[in-house]
């Protein structure tokens, strides 16, 4: 195991950035989101929850798929280049690391999404255990250990810096690259203490031990017509805050943009909460907000597990809990409809 001090961290990051794109939490006007490293970026590894999840690293909010040009009666098509060089994502929390597994289920199952696959192949994930969990966290409900990040490299906050442990081959390579900033050290005791502290704190959080009774594989019939959906969704604005801050939501729309020189076909995130989601000639097959609201949670808690060996597509990151404008969220749904608290 290695150690890196807080003071050395900027140098390490700069060294990584010299070799590859580096995507990490950056603060802007007090708000932290994942962004690319730049010399004057305010890197923020202390904030627990970025507003947007790191899923942009593999599945950006919008990306061009290909462009068409017309020159003198001839049409040419230029597909967008696939990611072909390694890049690093730094400071990913354990829940968000699990979210990548959820996305993999969607984008890597055959036929695999080439754009996503290329990014996933080249992306190196450096994760960071949750030093100070928050009240909105409920990762434990989905069996995620906030003290044990599963990524290429795992980090823990210790005394005056971070413990660094490579967990995969990709992680080893990255470690090699930044070795000069790391000092080899036996930190087993400190790390164990940090893990213990994290787990104790997580247990104190109000939503850590939600019961998932009534949810999961095979619960479609039981849940679908529950009258509670109406009251739960009454206040839903149909905005995309939950979807766009969610690390696992994977719906997208494909659109064309006329640039004047040609047409760009791009895809961008979409939200099942939107009234024009999957709009067809006959309209949206979910005409009321209640149906859209139900879809989102049924998908996370029932349909996705149904199709993915019981894997929930919620990781309990709690972003939607904090960000929903009207305080509606998946925790309320689980609690009010799940039978027990």
């Amino acid at each position: 195991m290695y150690q890196i001090s807080r003071e050395k961290m900027p140098e390490l990051l700069a060294a990584v950035a010299k070799e590859m794109d580096l995507f990490l939490p950056v603060q802007n006007n007090g708000i932290t989101n994942f962004g690319f490293w730049t010399e004057d970026a305010k890197v923020d590894l202390d904030t627990l929850k970025t507003v947007k999840s790191p899923k942009d690293a593999f599945f950006p909010q919008s990306e061009v798929l290909y462009s068409c040009y017309q020159k003198a009666n001839k049409t040419s098509i230029e597909p967008a280049a696939l990611k072909d060089a390694p890049f690093a994502i730094f400071g990913v929390r354990p829940c968000d690391v699990r979210a990548f597994d959820v996305l993999d289920r969607v984008f890597l199952s055959e036929p695999a999404d080439v754009y996503y696959a290329a990014r996933r192949e080249h992306g190196i994930v450096v994760s960071l255990a949750c030093h100070e969990p928050e009240d909105s966290c409920f990762c434990k409900t989905f069996g995620i250990d906030a003290a044990e990040p599963q990524a290429d490299v795992a980090m823990w906050q210790v005394a005056d810096g971070y413990a660094w442990e490579a967990k995969t081959e990709k992680g080893e390579k990255l470690t090699e690259l930044v070795k000069e900033y790391l000092t080899e050290q036996d930190l087993a005791k400190e790390v164990e203490a940090e893990k213990e502290a994290i787990r104790t704190l997580i247990d104190k959080m109000p939503n850590s031990n939600l019961s998932l009774e009534g949810w999961g594989v095979g619960k479609t019939k039981e849940r679908f017509d529950d009258p509670k959906w109406k009251e739960l969704s009454d206040a839903c604005l149909g905005c995309g805050t939950c979807t766009f801050s969610c690390p696992t939501c994977q719906c997208y729309d494909i659109k064309d943009f006329n640039t004047g020189n040609g047409v760009q076909r791009y895809r961008c995130w979409d939200s099942c909460m939107y009234s024009d989601f999957t709009m067809m000639a006959a309209g949206n097959n979910r005409t009321t907000q209640m149906q859209r609201f139900r879809q989102r949670f049924m998908h996370k808690l029932v349909y996705f597990p149904d199709n993915n060996d019981g894997m929930y597509s919620c990781v309990g990151c709690g972003r939607c809990v904090e960000k929903c404008p009207q305080s509606l969220n998946i925790v309320k749904v689980i609690k009010r409809m799940g039978g027990t608290k």
Binding site: Q70, N73, N258, G260, N261, A282, G283, N284, T287
Partner: protein, 662 residues
């Protein structure tokens, strides 16, 4: 798939000298959608037009772009040609490569490049053109004139003489209006009723004119060519058909002490009355507020003395609905209230009167038989003071910011007449400016000064009060001599500002005709369409549109009549097809569009919609194509983009923008 044809005109050398026409044809022919492109010397010539027609027919074109001179020049020409070829005329666009390109640029390369871009923009637009058909609506061959003063009378006569039916609605018991109250008219000093009464008779006798006196417009529906108007005929309690106008009822009526409206309250009338001797129709009405029968259930004398049995106490208001093709507003004016002008002592003294009261005083048929006397004691006055601009040109909340226009002249007239009839009376006129723009007007005013020795004082009166001897004390300033004047007077005449009739605002709302802040009706265009309201089919006559004197009123009345006749002469109205259109699926009924529409063309309806499977009733905007002029104000007021303009749609303009910025 669209099939667009582009035709590039050389315009002799007008275009071809600066724009490489061949190159334009070459480049534009490669644009997607363009299947035909050619150039020709003169596209607007017979041969040129034939080329367009042939191409439309042979190439089955769905849209045509002509690159030529301004559309203001030949758009109509080419649209007709397109129509001849079987293409909808509105699927043709012009790219202006002459006025806006070849004529202003010298560099051939630059001009050619710009011509191509303009052509592309036109192609982009024509691609999104939809066939438009002008609608048709009927024209009811009858006009309504609201107001029976000289403006309404003249308009009605001119329309009727052209052979169309006219209804006049007048709210008082007789037509005649303000002019019937006047004594003499400036600058010729002929007697007002002598020239008006024959006109009133003519109207009454005209077989095409129908008069509804003592009636008011209750509601207006419909639109140009096809208005539906409800008219309330107030109960007169005297049968119009039976009454012979003998006047016996008025002679015998015991309720005699009611103020005469016609004489501005300077004399009394009976409860059953005709406002004045020459009233048309000469049928009295019963003023129920003062009639003893209506107040107590007793009396009934008029009914008893009426040999014709015309008095009918059970008569009720009647509302009739009539259809009209055009409506003329001729609602006239009143003088403003002087309640806020205590300095002139009007409410305090009987000897301070308005100029309109002065007219009645001077009139031989007036309350004093034409004798100018002090109303407080009936004595002959020695000094009379006229004060101009009372409430006019006053920007405070007390008065009117505008010039009432007629006061200078009638004051000169009244002053002159007083001096003429009573050479012993001293007449002083306090003025700010004397405004006499009119034929023989300044000469008239100078006569008052030079021949009749009227004393004109440049300055305003600050205060009128009562002198200890019971006369009036007038305190004013003489700005030219820089002195303050205090003079005694026996009679003070106030040239009171005029304002539009109080009821006009209500009427404007019914007609959706716009008004200015002073409640004058707004004309469709201040210079070019001065007798039309912006609301199609509504015309303006007389002072309701702005202060004016009798000759101007009569001239405008005639002009309004011509406009009406021009409208009624049509059998059908073709409506401008480039009108706004609201998509009920996107409309949220917020009414922003309705507020900015200058023509009242937008109304709201509850409509059943099927929005991609959601069926519901929505309160949505509906555009009346017959009223819409296609300005597009509503399209921008609409936040959701539900409102769009045919022929200049959002998508079309955006496509032009895209083509230009490409």
């Amino acid at each position: 798939m669209q099939r667009i044809g582009v035709f590039v005109c050389h315009c002799g050398t007008n275009i071809a000298a600066t724009v490489d026409v061949k190159k334009v044809v070459d480049v534009i022919s490669k644009e997607p959608g363009v299947v035909h492109a050619e150039d020709y010397q003169y596209m607007c010539s017979e041969t040129g037009q034939q080329k367009v027609i042939d191409a439309i027919q042979n190439e089955h074109l769905t849209g045509v772009v002509i690159c030529s001179c301004s559309p203001r020049m030949h758009e109509g020409t080419f649209r007709k040609a397109a129509e001849k070829a079987g293409l909808n005329p509105y699927q043709l666009e012009i790219a202006n490569i002459r006025e806006q390109c070849s004529w202003i640029h010298k560099d051939m390369e630059e001009a050619t490049e710009k011509a191509v871009i303009l052509a592309r923009a036109a192609v982009a637009k024509v691609m999104l053109d939809t066939p438009l058909t002008p609608g048709e609506s009927r024209v009811v061959k009858r006009a309504l004139v609201i107001g029976g003063g000289i403006a309404g009378i003249q308009t009605a006569l001119d329309i009727a003489d052209a052979g169309y039916e006219v209804d006049i609605v007048e709210k008082t018991p007789s037509i005649g209006g303000r002019m019937s109250q006047l004594d003499k008219t400036f600058p010729t000093l002929d007697c007002s009723s002598c020239i008006l009464t024959p006109r009133m008779g003519e109207v009454n006798a005209h077989e095409k004119i129908n008069i509804y006196t003592y009636s008011e417009v209750e509601s207006v529906g419909g639109f140009v060519g096809d208005f539906k108007v409800d008219i309330r005929k107030k109960a007169r309690y005297v049968d119009m058909d039976k009454c012979t106008g003998c006047g016996l009822c008025q002679e015998k009526c015991p309720s005699k002490k009611n103020l005469s409206e016609f004489n501005r309250g300077l004399s009394n009338r009976t409860a059953i009355y005709t406002p004045f001797a020459q009233a048309v129709p000469n049928v009295p009405v019963i003023d129920t507020a003062n009639c003893i029968h209506f107040k107590t259930g007793k009396c009934g004398i008029c009914s008893k003395v009426c040999a014709a049995g015309a008095v009918n106490y059970d008569q009720k208001d009647e509302v009739i609905t009539r259809e009209y093709g055009a409506i003329v507003v001729a609602t006239g004016f009143d003088t403003i209230s002087l309640d806020k002008f205590d300095e002139y002592y009007y409410n305090q003294s009987k000897d301070v009167i308005t100029s309109l009261e002065m007219e009645r005083l001077m009139n031989a048929a007036g309350p004093t038989g034409g004798k100018v006397v002090r109303l407080s004691n009936g004595e002959h006055p020695k000094d009379i003071v006229f004060i101009q601009c009372v409430g006019s040109r006053d920007v405070t909340c007390r008065g009117k910011s505008y010039c009432s226009k007629i006061c200078c002249m009638y004051t000169a007239k009244q002053a002159m007449l007083v001096r003429d009839h009573y050479p012993d009376v001293n007449v002083h006129v306090f003025y700010i400016d004397v405004r006499t723009p009119g034929k023989n007007f300044d000469e008239f005013y100078r006569r008052a000064v030079e021949e009749f020795d009227v004393d004109y004082i440049k300055g305003q009166v600050g205060k009128v009060s009562e002198a200890p001897n019971g006369r009036l004390l007038v305190q004013g300033s003489d700005l030219l001599d820089n002195r303050q004047i205090k003079m005694e007077a026996d009679l003070v005449v106030l040239a009171t500002a005029i304002e539009p009739s109080k009821d006009a605002r209500k009427l404007a709302t019914m007609l959706t005709a716009s008004m200015d802040t002073n409640d004058f009706f707004t004309e469709a265009h201040a210079k070019l369409r001065p007798v039309e309201s912006p609301t199609a089919g509504v015309f303006l006559s007389g002072v309701c549109q702005g202060p004016k004197d009798i000759p101007e009123t009569v001239a405008q009345a005639g002009a309004a009549a011509v406009k009406v006749v021009g409208l009624l002469a049509k059998d059908k109205l073709t409506t401008n097809p480039c009108t706004a259109e609201s998509n009920p699926l996107f409309c949220n009924g917020c009414a922003s569009c309705e507020k900015v529409c200058p023509y009242g063309a937008i109304s709201y309806e509850d409509r059943q919609v099927n929005d991609h499977g959601i069926r519901e009733t929505r309160h949505v905007a509906v555009v009346n194509g017959a009223l819409c002029h296609g300005c597009g104000a509503c399209t921008v007021a609409c936040p959701s983009g539900a409102m769009d303009l045919k022929g200049f749609s959002n998508r079309q303009i955006l496509a032009e923008v895209d083509a230009i910025c490409r």
